[in-house]
C-alpha cells in the first residue's frame, strides 16, 4: 500500500490528471488496484515474452545424430565426435563448435517425433501442424500470428520468407494480406521496390492518384474480398516503396565485420537480414537452409552444412543478445524429420521421423536445457515425446496466441494454430 501522506503532492497531480482525463477524453483513470481485480492469482510468474519469431528451417531432414543428439556407439556415430558446451552436462556434435558456446541460450528438444516421413508431407506437417490433404491448404504460424494479433510496423510486411517458402508455411486459406513476402536472395534487396530514378516524387504521386481514380471505379463495382485484397496489396506496396523502413532490407548498412561474422553465404546473410527485419518489428521471418537430405555421403555434407548453420546461428544469438532483442524474439531451429542411426551403403543416412531434434531460444525460453531423450541409438524417443503440434503449440504459446481459438476454412472446417498441440510449459521461466 502506498504511503499516501508522504506523497500528497503526487496525489494532487493524479487527481488533476483524473479530472482532465474525464473532461477531455471521457474516461476514468485505470484504478490503482486493477491488477488485483483482474488477476486473483498471486504475482505472475515469469510469463512467455515473445513478440517475434526468427524461424530457421533446415530443409531435407537434418540428421539429429550428427548435430544435437550425438551417440556413443561407434556404429551409430561414424567418425563424428561429441564436444562439451558452455553448459555442463550437455554435449553436441563437434560440427557445431560455435553453437556449443551459446548453449546457455538454447533449449534443445531431442524428443521430437513425427508421423510424416516424406519431404513434402513432413515440411507441411512441421509448418502447419496438420497433415497434408488435397482439400485445403493450412496457414503457417506467421500468418496465424498476423491474423490474430496483427502486424506492428504498419509499413512493412508482417511475415517474410527468405530463401524459399516451405509448404504449409504460407497464408493457406487466410486472406492475401496475411501472405508472406518471399525473398529469394537476401543480398539482392527488394526487387522493384525503389521508385524509378528520374521519376519525381510528385510524378509518382500523380500516377498513384490516377491509378487510384481508375481503381475506385473498379473497386466500387466489384467490391468483394478478392478485389480488396488486390488493392490492399497495392496500397501496402506503395507504403513499402515510400517507407523509411525500406532501409531494413539494406544489408549494406551493416559493417563488413558483421556481414562476415554471419557467414558470406545466402543463409548467413539471410539470418542477418532476419535480425534487421525483426528490429523493425516484422513479426515472423523464416530463413531456409537446404541440403540436409543426406542419403549419400552424410558426414561430409552434414559437416559442410553444419558449418554454415554454426556460424550463422551463433552470430544471430550473440547479435540478438547484445541488442537486447532476445527476450522478445524467439529463435526456432526446425526440420521435418531426423535420420537413421544405420549408415547405408552410400555412407549416408535415410529418413527417420520417429525421433529428431529441434531447438528453441529466446522469447521467454529458459536456456541451457535439454528436453526429452532418445534411445541409445537415436531411433526412438525414450522420454517425453514431443509431437509436431506440441512443438508448434509451444511457439504459439510463447507468442501469447490463443491455442483454443478456432477459425473456419471457406468450406466450414474448424482449424487451430497448432491443432491439438499442448505447449511445453516446462521450457519457460
Amino acid at each position: 500500500m502506498k504511503n499516501i501522506i508522504g506523497r500528497i503532492p503526487n496525489l494532487d497531480r493524479r487527481e488533476f490528471l483524473a479530472y482532465s482525463a474525464k473532461a477531455f477524453l471521457g474516461v476514468g483513470l485505470m484504478p490503482i488496484g486493477i491488477r488485483s481485480e483482474v488477476f486473483a492469482a498471486a504475482a505472475p510468474t515469469r510469463l512467455p515474452s515473445a513478440k517475434n519469431v526468427i524461424y530457421l528451417y533446415m530443409a531435407g531432414g537434418m540428421s539429429h545424430l550428427d548435430t544435437f543428439d550425438p551417440k556413443e556407439s561407434r556404429d551409430v556415430r561414424g567418425p563424428v565426435e561429441a564436444i562439451s558446451t558452455n553448459v555442463s552436462g550437455i554435449r553436441i556434435s563437434e560440427y557445431l563448435p560455435r553453437i556449443a558456446k551459446q548453449m546457455d541460450k538454447m533449449a534443445v528438444i531431442r524428443s521430437l517425433s513425427s508421423t510424416q516421413g516424406a519431404h513434402e508431407e513432413g515440411r507441411y506437417f512441421m509448418h502447419s501442424s496438420y497433415t497434408k490433404r488435397g482439400t485445403i491448404v493450412h496457414p503457417g504460424i506467421g500468418s496465424w500470428l498476423l491474423k490474430l494479433d496483427g502486424a506492428r510496423n504498419p509499413n512493412l510486411p508482417g511475415v517474410v520468407h527468405i530463401g524459399t517458402s516451405n509448404p504449409g508455411g504460407g497464408n493457406g486459406y487466410f486472406e492475401q494480406r496475411f501472405a508472406p513476402l518471399v525473398i529469394g536472395n537476401p543480398e539482392a534487396g527488394l526487387q522493384n521496390s525503389k521508385i524509378r530514378k528520374g521519376v519525381s516524387e510528385k510524378e509518382f504521386h500523380d500516377s498513384v492518384m490516377l491509378t487510384n481514380a481508375f481503381d475506385a471505379e473498379f473497386h466500387n463495382r466489384y467490391n468483394q474480398k478478392k478485389t480488396r485484397a488486390y488493392t490492399d496489396m497495392y496500397d501496402d506496396a506503395i507504403k513499402l516503396m515510400k517507407s523509411r523502413d525500406l532501409a531494413a532490407f539494406e544489408l549494406d548498412e551493416e559493417s563488413k565485420q558483421t556481414r562476415e561474422a554471419y557467414g558470406t553465404n545466402p543463409f548467413g546473410q539471410g539470418c542477418l537480414l532476419a535480425r534487421r527485419l525483426v528490429e523493425h518489428d516484422v513479426r515472423f521471418v523464416e530463413v531456409t537452409l537446404g541440403g540436409w537430405d543426406t542419403h549419400i555421403n552424410n558426414f561430409e555434407r552434414v559437416e559442410e552444412n553444419a558449418q554454415v548453420l554454426d556460424q550463422a546461428l551463433a552470430s544471430l544469438l550473440t547479435d540478438l543478445e547484445r541488442r537486447g532483442m532476445l527476450e522478445e524474439t524467439m529463435v526456432v531451429l526446425a526440420t521435418e524429420f531426423g535420420r537413421t542411426p544405420q549408415i547405408n551403403g552410400n555412407d549416408g543416412r535415410d529418413h527417420s521421423p520417429t525421433a529428431f531434434s529441434c531447438v528453441l531460444a529466446g522469447g521467454g525460453i529458459r536456456g541451457g536445457q535439454v528436453y526429452g531423450e532418445t534411445d541409445t541409438i537415436g531411433k526412438k524417443v525414450a522420454d517425453r515425446k514431443v509431437a509436431v503440434p506440441d512443438f508448434n503449440a509451444t511457439i504459439a504459446y510463447a507468442l501469447g496466441m490463443p491455442l483454443e481459438k478456432t477459425l473456419y476454412s471457406p468450406s466450414g472446417r474448424p482449424f487451430r494454430v497448432a491443432d491439438k498441440g499442448i505447449p511445453l510449459l516446462d521450457l519457460f521461466g
Binding site: 503526487n10 477524453l25 474516461v27 557467414g263 553465404n265 551463433a314 490463443p402 483454443e404 466450414g412 472446417r413
Partner: protein, 304 residues
C-alpha cells in the same frame, strides 16, 4: 432397422438420435472405450463433451463437432465414425435437424447448468485465456489511447499489465503527450520509444510512471541528461540504450535503480571501463556492452 422419418413431427432424441449413436458411435464412445475422453451413451455425457471441450451447440449444427465431423469425406483424418459404417445421408439429416431444433433430450431430461468442463488446453495452462484478453474497464481506456495514435498492447501477454509503443505512433512532431499515459497509471509496465526523436528533456515526463519495468530507448538521441530521469524509475528491470549517446558518466547514475537486471549498451558511447564500474554496483552480468561478432575461422577445406 427402419428409421421413422419425422417429416411432420419433431426429431425425438430417444426415437431417432439415440439409436444412431448406439449403432455407429458407442463402439468407441461408450462404456468399453472412451476415445477422446468422450462418451455418447447418455445425455449427460454428450453435454459434458470430450478432451477438447463441447461437441454440441444446441441450435447450431455447424458449430457442433458431433455433426460436423460426420460430414467430412471418408478419407479425411478427422472423419467420424472412424470405425465401422458411417452415417447414412438420412441419419446425418436427422442429426442436423435435431441440433438445429435445439438438441432437446426430451421432457424427462432436465438439463442442469453444468460447470464448464476443462479442455486439455485449459488444463495445460489455466491462466492462458485470461492473459491476452483485455477486460473490463481496460477495454475503453485502451481504445481511447489507440484513438490518440498510440500502440497499446498487453505486456508479456498479461492482460493486467500494459505496454505502449511510440515507434509507429501517429503524433505531431515533438509532442509525446506522456500525460495521457496516466490513463494506464500503474498498469503501464513497458514503454518503447525506440527509433523516435525523443530528447533528454522529453523524458522528464516519464518519472511519474514508477511502475515501468521495461524501457526501450534504442536508436534515439538520448544522452546522459536523460539518465537523471530514467534513474527515478524504481521498478525498472530492463533498459535498452543501444545506439544512443549515453557515456560512461551518464550510466553510473543508474546504480541507484535497485531492481535493474539488464542494461544494454551496444552502439552507445559507453566503454568497457564504464560498463564494468556500473556492473560492480548493480550485479554481475547486468550490463551488456557487447562486442564485435567473431569472424568465421579460416579453415582449409571446401569453401561454401
Amino acid at each position: 432397422m427402419a428409421l421413422l422419418i419425422p417429416s411432420l413431427e419433431g426429431v425425438d432424441f430417444d426415437k431417432h438420435i439415440g439409436p444412431i449413436l448406439e449403432n455407429k458411435c458407442y463402439r468407441c464412445h461408450g462404456e468399453e472405450k472412451v476415445k477422446g475422453e468422450l462418451r455418447l451413451d447418455s445425455p449427460e455425457a454428450i453435454l459434458a463433451g470430450g478432451e477438447y471441450g463441447d461437441i454440441l451447440v444446441p441450435g447450431d449444427p455447424s458449430e457442433s463437432s458431433l455433426y460436423v465431423l460426420t460430414t467430412y469425406p471418408k478419407d479425411d483424418p478427422d472423419y467420424m465414425p472412424q470405425k465401422g459404417k458411417g452415417l447414412t445421408v438420412g441419419e446425418r439429416k436427422l442429426l442436423k435437424r435435431w441440433i438445429a431444433d435445439g438438441a432437446s433430450f426430451g421432457e424427462s431430461f432436465a438439463r442442469k447448468p453444468e460447470p464448464k468442463t476443462r479442455s486439455k488446453f485449459e488444463e495445460a495452462d489455466p491462466a492462458n485465456e485470461r492473459k491476452y484478453t483485455i477486460m473490463g474497464e481496460a477495454v475503453e481506456i485502451v481504445a481511447r489511447l489507440r484513438e490518440s495514435g498510440l500502440q497499446v498492447d498487453t505486456a508479456n501477454h498479461d492482460a493486467s499489465r500494459f505496454e505502449i509503443s511510440y515507434t509507429y505512433a501517429e503524433r505531431s512532431e515533438g509532442a509525446f503527450g506522456f500525460e495521457t499515459l496516466a490513463l494506464l497509471g500503474d498498469s503501464l509496465v513497458k514503454l518503447t520509444l525506440a527509433r523516435t526523436d525523443v530528447s533528454d528533456g522529453d523524458l522528464a515526463g516519464i518519472v511519474d510512471y514508477s511502475r515501468i519495468e521495461y524501457l526501450d530507448l534504442g536508436r534515439t538521441k538520448v544522452g546522459d541528461a536523460a539518465m537523471e530521469y530514467v534513474a527515478k524509475l524504481e521498478h525498472l528491470r530492463y533498459l535498452n540504450l543501444c545506439d544512443t549517446n549515453v557515456t560512461d558518466a551518464g550510466i553510473q547514475k543508474l546504480a541507484s535503480v535497485k531492481h535493474l537486471e539488464r542494461v544494454y549498451l551496444w552502439g552507445s558511447q559507453a566503454t568497457a571501463d564504464g560498463a564494468k564500474r556500473l556492473e560492480k554496483r548493480i550485479g554481475e552480468g547486468a550490463v551488456i556492452l557487447g562486442s564485435e561478432l567473431g569472424a568465421a575461422p579460416r579453415r582449409a577445406g571446401p569453401r561454401i
